[in-house]
């Protein structure tokens, strides 16, 4: 089988970090520890495991952070090397109850997949994202498929998955829609983590795949009042509005937009601009996870408001004085599992399937690449916003071009970029 494999190689890891720091995200892949390799098929780890042949596999922000050498050392003990990245996957199942069917992976490797009994409290409650045993059981450590040595990942022609991880894809759903289910599930979980009761004024920071999915989830599953998206690039702002943002502004405009939205007063800077708000919005969804985005969150959240950290952070330096003085709540939103709904617990993935359909999230898939062109694919993903794209995926289907990045998605991305330049 063919796979992109990420090895524990400290010098190359450091080289990737330096390259990405100097040349920008995505540039570290040429010198980093990711390589296209031929591997023997993975052994099935135990009962209930099946093979999956990926059709499409997405490149996620957390993947890019890993390739750039920027991911937190926090993860060191909950991943196992070498691993094959790729946790946004739709593929064909071989074996088990879904044999011959298409499925998407719910990638968290919780107690059930690890053969651990009894299940930890979180897994027992269906909250797989909070599993306490992700380094134990009959698998080596790995918080998700795509970070575990024993399972392979989506950036390959074959991986192994536990049946409890698989969600069947309805016949009428395209592969492009299906590959968006995992990021949509993250967004669904984040939207419910925000605990919106109705009418809250919300700012969503970042409008990459995750930010856009969060906007779609908030608008369709919760009842926010006004929703402002903060997005760097024109196509992101257009999509944000289309998916449900009342307003989409550039990053430098976030304080003014939040002030207008909340009717807050503001403390002025020396040049007459806004230093920070005295009030602010009820809720900030930080879909970036950087020091800057956290600072921006504190800039605009009201006293007693809530910041939900949706984007994957690393080691950041942030002034927490406003968190203390304004009694702001900061909480994380990771992965998925099940959500408490008025009608009873619902699988996050089930809700995500519905969200993808309703919001037509397949349109976020902008370009497809053959595995062999992984350097271009990663570079494209790292510059997606700037290049008028959103989600970049590997296309592993039979007949997908080996040398050229495949088909229609690329054209869409190129058209978007051209349109932007023409503007």
């Amino acid at each position: 089988m063919k796979a992109l494999q990420f090895e524990r190689n400290v010098p190359r890891f450091a080289a990737a970090r330096v390259a990405s720091s100097l040349a920008g995200s995505g540039r570290g892949v040429r010198v980093g520890p990711l390589e296209l390799v031929e591997l023997d098929p993975f052994a099935l780890p135990g009962p209930g495991w099946v093979r999956l042949r990926p059709r499409l596999a997405g490149i996620c922000g957390s993947d890019l952070a890993t390739l750039d050498g920027r991911s937190s050392r926090y993860f060191e003990h909950i991943v196992s090397f070498p691993f094959v990245p790729g946790h946004e996957v739709v593929g064909d199942v071989e074996g088990g109850l879904l044999d011959g069917r298409r499925a998407v992976i719910e990638p968290v490797l919780g107690c059930e997949a690890r053969g651990i009994e009894p299940l930890c409290a979180a897994c027992a409650a269906g909250r797989k994202g909070a599993c306490e045993r992700i380094a134990f059981g009959h698998l080596r450590p790995g918080l998700q498929t795509g970070y575990c040595r024993d399972t392979s990942g989506g950036w390959s022609t074959e991986l192994v998955a536990h049946q409890s991880q698989l969600h069947e894809v309805p016949d009428e759903m395209s592969d492009e829609a299906a590959v968006m289910v995992e990021p949509a599930a993250c967004a669904v979980h984040a939207a419910f983590a925000a605990e919106i009761t109705g009418g809250e004024r919300v700012v969503v920071l970042g409008a990459g795949t995750l930010g856009l999915c969060v906007i779609a989830a908030l608008r369709r599953l919760c009842l926010p009042g006004a929703l402002v998206a903060v997005a760097k690039h024109p196509n992101q702002r257009d999509l944000a509005r289309d998916l449900g943002a009342d307003q989409a502004v550039k990053p430098g405009e976030h304080k003014r937009a939040a002030r207008r939205l909340s009717g807050s007063l503001a403390l002025e800077s020396n040049d007459g601009g806004i230093e920070r708000l005295t009030g602010g919005v009820d809720l900030v969804m930080d879909c970036v996870g950087s020091a800057d985005s956290l600072q921006q969150s504190f800039d605009v959240v009201r006293p007693g408001g809530r910041i939900v950290l949706v984007g994957m952070p690393g080691l950041v330096r942030v002034d927490l004085a406003p968190l203390w003085q304004r009694e702001v709540e900061l909480r994380g939103a990771y992965a998925y599992g099940c959500e408490d709904r008025p009608e009873g617990p619902r699988s996050t993935f089930d809700l995500a399937f519905e969200l993808v359909r309703e919001a037509r999230l397949e349109r976020l898939v902008s370009a497809r690449y053959a595995l062999e062109n992984y350097e271009d694919a990663v570079a494209h993903a790292a510059a997606a916003g700037r290049r008028g794209a959103v989600k970049i995926v590997f296309d592993l289907r039979k007949g997908a071009g080996k040398d050229a990045p495949g088909g229609e998605g690329v054209k869409v991305a190129q058209m978007a970029a051209t349109t932007k330049e023409a503007k």
Binding site: Q247, V249, R256, A257, R259, R260, G263, L265, G272, G273
Partner: protein, 529 residues
């Protein structure tokens, strides 16, 4: 020799290039053969003894008013309101017309033993004036006599305790004005009538009003029905203000209106070429133009702005009239027309104009993109009587750098309007319905308007409404040499050069269009037949 009247030149092969303003600079443009260039009349001569003319006007009022001297008595409450920083443009060389008139009024008040006198800058929803600006408008003597004693106020349209509701007009328009002014025994209003829209009942009914009152005429419907704003016969803005003014009079407030007109001596001698016809430029004028142009090319933007905003106009008074509001204004308009009116025969497919660095709302400030739109479409487009210079469906070409730049102290809500509202829509009615109330009542804007030097929160929307008639009338607006993103945000088309703009215009009006160039400033008013 009497000043020459306005003039319409038809460009031929021998016509020298035409000067076009371009923000804080100017360009010489070779206009296509056949283009009409509209020049205003030459500056009228100054009054030989303006102070004597003022005293005469106060003693011989128009309409049914008594001489001011007889309206003043000991123990009375006298309020003197005056036009704010938005007039005249550029700010005039000292002594300002307001200073001359107010000193004369105060002399009479002192002689009559009046000791309860306050001055109020009639800001409406404009920014507060700084002390140096007030001192310049009023002169040292008046400023020192009133400001330190707390007797010099700036109208606060957001101070409910200092507003009084006088009633509704027959069109159900709220009339709510400054309480001190309304409860005075006499309100003297001191005006500078720079354009035909100024003065009359607008002085009090707008200058001293609240948002609740202003919104009855500062709205899209009214401005679409003001054709033009400068034509008193066809302006719904004027009609609304007149209804309000008459209600103010009926409510018992005695207003003694003093209006002044200025000549078009707009620029000091070193920039004298700016108000001459190009073929009459002397060697010195050409040298001045070249020196000024090359100096401006080498000067950083911030510095050239400072230089231009330090320019003081050598305006001279050409008339003073006082007394009953309507009679006064009628005489004022006749004097203003004497200075500004130019006959123009027929409309044109394309109207071109160069926009200067200043408009009523950026004195000592930044000409932001919304103000560029307002100056071009709201003011200069409306410099006509009878019918617009450009035909319906025609094209307006304006030259201005249109920087994406704002003064955050003066124009905080402009920034939000431009970045947030115009990014969503440029539709006048949608903006009015969806955004006006929130901008008008935003507590931060209110705070900055009242305590800092900010235009009211709703002001950028009003500037946008000011463009309503032009927007409805024109087929396209093109901005030459502007920041392309800012121009597009306004809903206009950018062009690099005038020739490019004329080519673009042909897409809208067809090949070989007729072109008219409006050569302002100095200001003129086209009577289009």
């Amino acid at each position: 020799m009497s000043p020459r009247p306005g003039f319409v030149l038809e460009v031929d092969r021998s016509t020298p290039p035409t000067l076009m303003w371009h923000g804080e600079g100017f360009r010489l443009e070779k206009l296509p053969v056949g283009t009409r260039v509209v020049y205003g009349p030459e500056a009228l001569p100054a009054l030989s003894d303006p102070d004597e003319v003022i005293r005469h006007a106060l003693e011989h009022p128009l309409g049914d008013s008594q001489p001011l001297r007889t309206l003043l008595f000991p123990g009375m409450r006298l309020t003197i309101a005056f036009d704010d920083i938005s007039l005249p443009l550029p700010p005039m060389r000292a002594p300002d017309a307001r200073q001359r008139v107010i000193e004369a009024v105060l002399d009479l008040a002192a002689a009559a033993g009046v000791d309860d006198v306050v001055l109020i800058a009639a800001l409406a929803l404009h920014r507060r004036m700084t002390d140096p600006e007030l001192r310049h408008a009023l002169g040292d003597r008046v400023f020192e006599a009133f400001a330190p004693n707390g007797l010099l106020f700036q109208h606060d349209a957001e101070d409910p305790s200092n507003l009084v509701h006088l009633g509704l007009t027959d069109q159900a328009e709220d009339v709510e004005i400054n309480r001190r002014a309304a409860e005075s025994d006499l309100l003297v209003y001191v005006n500078i009538n720079l354009v035909a829209m100024d003065g009359g009942h607008k002085s009090v009914a707008t200058g001293l009003a609240s948002y609740k009152s202003l919104k009855h005429h500062h709205n899209v419907r009214t401005l679409l029905q003001s054709r033009s704003l400068m034509d008193e016969r066809h302006s719904e803005l004027r009609n609304s203000n007149w209804r309000m003014g008459r209600l103010i009079a009926a409510a018992g407030l005695k207003v003694f209106q003093i209006e002044t007109t200025l000549n078009t001596n707009t620029f000091p001698s070193q920039l004298g070429f700016l108000q001459k016809r190009e073929w009459e430029w002397s060697l010195r004028d050409r040298a001045s133009f070249l020196a000024a142009s090359s100096a401006l090319d080498r000067t950083p933007g911030g510095l050239s702005r400072k230089i231009f905003h330090s320019v003081q106009a050598p305006h001279d008074l050409t008339s003073v009239q006082a007394g009953e509001v309507e009679a006064v204004h009628s005489s004022t308009l006749a004097n203003l027309h004497r200075q500004q009116l130019v006959s123009v025969s027929g409309q044109t497919d394309v109207l071109t104009m160069g926009l200067p660095y200043i408009c009523p709302y950026n004195v000592n400030s930044t000409m932001n993109p919304i103000l560029v739109a307002c100056l071009g479409l709201g003011y200069f487009f409306n410099l006509y009587r009878n019918k617009p210079l450009v035909r319906e469906g025609g094209v307006l070409i304006m030259s201005h750098p249109t920087p994406w730049e704002f003064n955050p102290v003066h124009h905080p809500s402009y920034i939000d309007f431009f970045e947030q509202v115009l990014a969503e829509t440029t539709d006048l009615f949608e903006i009015e319905a969806k955004y006006e109330e929130s901008f008008a009542t935003d507590p931060w804007y209110v705070h900055l308007y009242r305590t800092s030097y900010a235009y009211h929160g709703v002001h950028p929307l009003y500037m946008w409404y000011w463009c309503a008639h032009a927007m409805q009338h024109l087929g396209r607006v093109i901005v030459v040499g502007g920041d392309r993103a800012a121009v597009r945000r306004l809903g206009f088309s950018p062009a690099s050069t005038l020739n490019d703009a004329l080519e673009l215009a042909e897409d809208t009006v067809g090949r070989d269009p007729t072109i008219t160039h409006l050569h302002v400033p100095p200001l003129l008013l086209a009577e289009v037949t």
